[in-house]
């Protein structure tokens, strides 16, 4: 008499071996997780830096930059010049679109530079240009003369 027909299949499935995953799989997973965390943090850091610059430009607040006194000084100068210009023209506030037209290109360049993670030297040059622009606008207001830029 034959055995019940599913016996062989059932036995085959019961005989399926169990394998241990390789010993280094968990350490690999943890390493991979750390890499992904670092990537996420780097992406978040870039996003926050860009957002803080945009916010600073929109709200006219100085961006705290650690480790580069020249850049901090340029930003402080920028804030001082903005205040002076604001007094002369009755203030420019609100969104970036309300900035004096002459400032917009350099502000866009600044935002782009922060987005790219540009060097301090490049950022400093852009802040310097912005300050020169503000200075020129103030001179124009004070003397009533037109400034011609080349």
């Amino acid at each position: 008499m034959r055995q019940p027909t599913l016996t062989a299949s059932a036995q085959l499935l019961a005989d399926l071996p169990d394998f241990d995953p390789p010993a280094d799989l968990w350490p690999r997973i943890l390493r991979r997780q750390r890499v992904l965390q670092l990537r996420r943090r780097a992406a978040l850091g870039t996003l926050l830096a860009a957002a803080s610059v945009v916010l600073a430009l929109v709200l006219r607040i100085p961006v705290p930059v650690s480790g580069d006194p020249a850049l901090v000084r340029l930003q402080a100068d920028s804030q001082r010049l903005e205040s002076r210009l604001a007094m002369l023209v009755g203030g420019f506030k609100g969104s970036a679109n309300e900035s004096p037209t002459d400032l917009r290109p350099v502000e866009r360049a600044l935002q782009d530079a922060y987005d790219r993670g540009a060097s301090s030297a490049e950022l400093a040059e852009l802040w310097r240009r912005r300050n020169e622009m503000l200075d020129a606008l103030i001179s124009t207001r004070e003397t009533g003369t037109l400034v011609t830029r080349i």
Binding site: R2, T5, L6, A8, S9, L12, L13, A14, D15, L16, P17, D18, F19, D20, P21, P22, L25, W26, R28, I29, L30, R32, Q33, L36
Partner: protein, 203 residues
Amino acid sequence: MEMTTDSSNSASGFAQVIDAETLARARRGDTQAHTVLYQRFGRASFNLALRVLGNRAAAEDVVQDVFLKLLGAIRSYRGEAPIGAWLKRMTVNAAIDQLRAQRHLEPEDPERLFEHVAIAGTLPDDAHDAMALLQRLPARARLILVLHELEGYTHKELAVLFGQSESYSKSILSRALVRLQEWLQPVPQESDIVELRTCANRH
């Protein structure tokens, strides 16, 4: 690769219970608690993936994918379902994704699925190696067989998983069991096959 022959460990692996304190620590990001989760469920996840995919590297990828997802989502885990069931579902989904990526889940038609599967008498020497025999089934049939027979999925759950009717998985399971039986007992009698089909449909 170290091997044991007690398959019951793997089958019940996802059913293991994790104490509330370990889960709480895991939710807080405690790496030791994460390691405990891996020690409890990593093997079950690996074996389920290996049986379905038949490839060690692919199974490792599945386990990595599953545990990275777990580590990313554990903070929001509130214990609505046992964590083992959650991991099992993630393993199944990751394995299916792998099969789909390799285009191993086609065709859907149960008749065509077994068209090119070796028949009895044409198998090579490894025919009595359980793992090798399982791998000779079409991927879709292997998946259904493993999920139903070893992981306790019901046909209703399989219907949801495949977006098909319950009779779909019943049909494929029946054919898979018959084919296995033919390989193991090369000269089956007609009455055996009828009984097998009846048996598979009862599951």
